[in-house]
Symmetry: C2
Subunit: 309 residues, 2 copies
């Protein structure tokens, strides 16, 4: 049995304190790599690379491993505390207001990929300092040497603002970029999202997926444009992690595909959108942790009907 | 040759002064019934009911009649001035800021439908005082007596605020409601748009179409939910009239259909969405006035591809 994951994600694990109109919770399991890997675990074999402190509970690790996630790349810093984020959502919950960010162990994080992980079919660089993203790319084997044939990344407003040269260097080295609508506008300076999406293709990636929260997502590639609405959710409890969940399911679906062309990515976006609709229906990973593949497939079928004229 | 229109619209004709990031224009031809009827005229025979003042130019009337629009229901008040609206759009142009509204001849408008118009296959009550909308309904023949088998309406925040009882009475008498996302939330008190759409079905109409501007549209009916993104437009010049254009093409397509079930309405929404993308690409009716059916059909086919995984 091979111990090479289908998909490797490098990103954050966190404790979140969250306030939404539906309630307030503290010490929730969160982080980009957490949402991503749990979402992807319904679809493929995932390897996780990240860092936590001595305060990371065994139960959280068990949650990940219970989903079949390979945690050999999870570094535990015995003398540190896990990254912590506190945020609040109001009204339509379309934007998080950050109340606190404590980097803790993240401030000195240098990801080291286990040997097997360098041969994964696909790799995702979740939102993190672009210099670190670049250092991860340096560790991958080339595709012709057994390395990943699909590498994609996410980013955020902070890096666009303070580390854009490094970010652009990484962008030129990946196949795909996931980012939200505000980030797409910020990185390109174009107010029109269609124009922004096209401009992003000029920065290197062969596909760009713009996440628009409750308004769905766009795929831009040289071959095609694709627009997918979000899954209709009547009661959104907590939107935290929806974007990472989406990316996790998109990449999880794509990782096990022989092709990664636009048609396959469109199909993958149905899975991402369906998966994210579970995440937002409860706090933290509550709705994802026990999710069965069959439930996901049913929701994908519902989504297909909802967007079919 | 029958002189009964397929589709009758009752609404406003206006002079608009518009400011957008793309420029500033004054004295433009505008109004809900204008956009609606010109859009619908690509798809069916339209009858227009509205009022203008002595200042309404012959060229504007010729524009309408040149599209085959039956203007027998267009009242000209020799001693009055045409309704005037001034508005401004900034940034993402997702909301108009009203700078001036002069009702003029609209303040005493009592629509009178020509006899033929009472037998149209479909009728649309564009945004106007709900009491007037009710008075139009009173003039229609019943479906079993040769009257319209499809009646739909639009409304706006003002009427939801100041005339909600009258509005609810009209709502209980129509087949369909078109309104934007903010209005759907306002009328139902529900922040979640999916919940709002479902609640609106409880007020009478058998279908509700929620217009979300650049984010597309939703159809709610007892049989199905449908979500359609907007057509990607790289350079939006002036969003004025996009919603009326959308409704005009939806109703224009539906008016000539034997069935008005959900599947047919979804199809109609493709036409509405494609048509609205022309409107926003220029000021006033510039992009619509010479539009050929073939151009519209090509854009509908493009849209179908854009939303097909």
């Amino acid at each position: 049995m091979s111990s090479i994951p289908d998909l490797v994600v490098v990103g954050t694990l966190a404790f979140d304190d969250i306030e939404t109109p539906a309630g307030r919770r503290s010490g929730l399991l969160g982080g980009s790599a957490t949402y991503f890997s749990v979402a992807a675990s319904s679809l493929c074999k995932v390897g996780l690379v990240g860092v936590v402190g001595a305060d990371f509970p065994a139960a959280s690790r068990m949650l990940l491993e219970g989903r079949g996630i390979d945690t050999r790349g999870l570094e535990v810093k015995a003398d540190g505390r896990t990254f912590h984020w506190a945020g609040r959502y109001e009204g339509a919950m379309d934007q998080a207001q950050t109340l606190a960010t404590d980097l803790n162990v993240l401030s000195t994080f240098t990801p080291r990929l286990p040997e097997d992980f360098r041969r994964a079919r696909a790799v995702f660089l979740a939102n993190i300092d672009p210099t670190i993203q670049g250092a991860v790319l340096d560790q991958l084997l080339p595709p012709e040497g057994g390395g990943p044939r699909l590498v994609a990344m996410d980013t955020m407003n902070l890096w666009i603002q303070v580390a854009q040269p490094a970010l652009r260097k990484v962008l030129a080295r990946v196949d795909g970029l996931f980012l939200n609508d505000a980030e797409a506008r910020q990185l390109t300076g174009k107010g029109n999202l269609v124009a922004a999406g096209k401009a992003l293709l000029g920065l290197g990636p062969r596909f760009v997926i713009v996440k628009k929260g409750e308004h769905g997502s766009f795929l831009f590639s040289p071959e095609r444009f694709y627009a997918l609405p979000s899954f209709p959710v009547e009661e959104v409890v907590d939107p935290t992690g929806a974007g990472d969940t989406f990316a996790g399911a998109v990449m999880g679906f794509a990782a096990t595909s022989a092709r990664h062309d636009a048609a396959r990515l469109c199909e993958a976006m149905l899975y991402g959108t369906a998966m994210a609709s579970f995440t937002v229906s409860d706090f933290s990973l509550e709705a994802l942790r026990g999710l069965q593949r069959a439930q996901l497939e049913r929701r994908v079928e519902d989504l297909r009907r909802f967007v079919q004229p």
